[in-house]
Amino acid sequence: MQDNELFKLMKIETPYLPDAGFSDKVMRELPVQRRVRMRVLAASVVIASIVAFVIWLLGMNSDSFSALASPLALSTVAVAFWVFVGFFAFITVDEGVFEV
């Protein structure tokens, strides 16, 4: 058998595989769309900042509340900060940034 005959045989006998739902499976496994994630990140930071600001404002107008305001505001900002770090870490790992 000549080489070209062998290759012809291999091409003829190699089937074409229809998609049959394969691409659907692939698309389902893709990570959540990046734009949605960025919106979630941005929203969490904005909400945390607004909440901290509101608490600070309330603290300015009320003596009894002002004692709580600083630690509350600080706690809210701290929580927001760690949520942001957590989201960032999750997204970078999920996006395969660290994969070799």
Binding site: E13, T14, P15, D19, K25, V26, M27, P31, E95, G96
Partner: protein, 178 residues
């Protein structure tokens, strides 16, 4: 189906266009899955491997800086398949030119069974050359092998495959003649 690959890739990168990515998957899915099936000899495992390959393609698309997109996908797929083979304890590196199982007596093999008797490297090189029509340089890139090794795999692989596909009587006569 002709596709404007570069345009689709740009749409995925710029707008995270999922429809564009699906077009790429549809265009290359058959070739990749068939290749992985021949490498892994297990349909379900090969399709899982192909799925994971596409996930990596999506994640790493920004690192593709032009060139041969098909070779790039196959390179990722091959690396994934080799990792799976290593996990299973099947360490038949691509460089090895060890012939697979001995030629079975009295059987004229069909193509798939004959291919299964080749070494992994020979099988990969033959498939990429014959079915994907890749050049030797492209095959060397996909399999991460020196060009000389690719050529050697192709030569020996073809010889062995021809023997395996030949009539067993003719094979016996050839063996006696040696």
């Amino acid at each position: 189906m002709r596709i404007d690959e570069q345009d689709l890739i740009e749409r995925v990168l710029k707008d995270d266009d999922r429809h564009a990515f699906r077009q790429l998957v549809l265009h290359y899915q058959s070739g990749l899955r068939i290749f992985l099936r021949r490498m892994l000899s297990d349909i379900a495992l090969a399709d899982d491997c192909a799925q994971e390959t596409w996930l990596i393609v999506y994640q790493k698309l920004a690192s593709f800086h032009g060139g041969n997109f098909r070779s790039w996908i196959f390179t990722i797929g091959m690396r994934k398949a080799l990792r799976l083979k290593t996990k299973e304890g099947r360490t038949d590196p691509l460089e090895t030119d060890v012939a697979g199982s001995p030629v079975p007596e009295g059987l004229k093999l069909d193509l798939e069974r004959a291919l299964a008797h080749l070494s992994l490297g020979q099988r990969a090189c033959l498939h990429l050359s014959a079915c994907e029509e890749m050049s030797h340089e492209e095959i060397a890139e996909v399999l991460d092998l020196p060009l000389g090794t690719v050529k050697s795999h192709l030569t020996r692989g073809k010889e062995r495959l021809k023997t395996l596909l030949s009539d067993p009587e003719a094979r016996k006569e050839k063996d006696h003649a040696r």
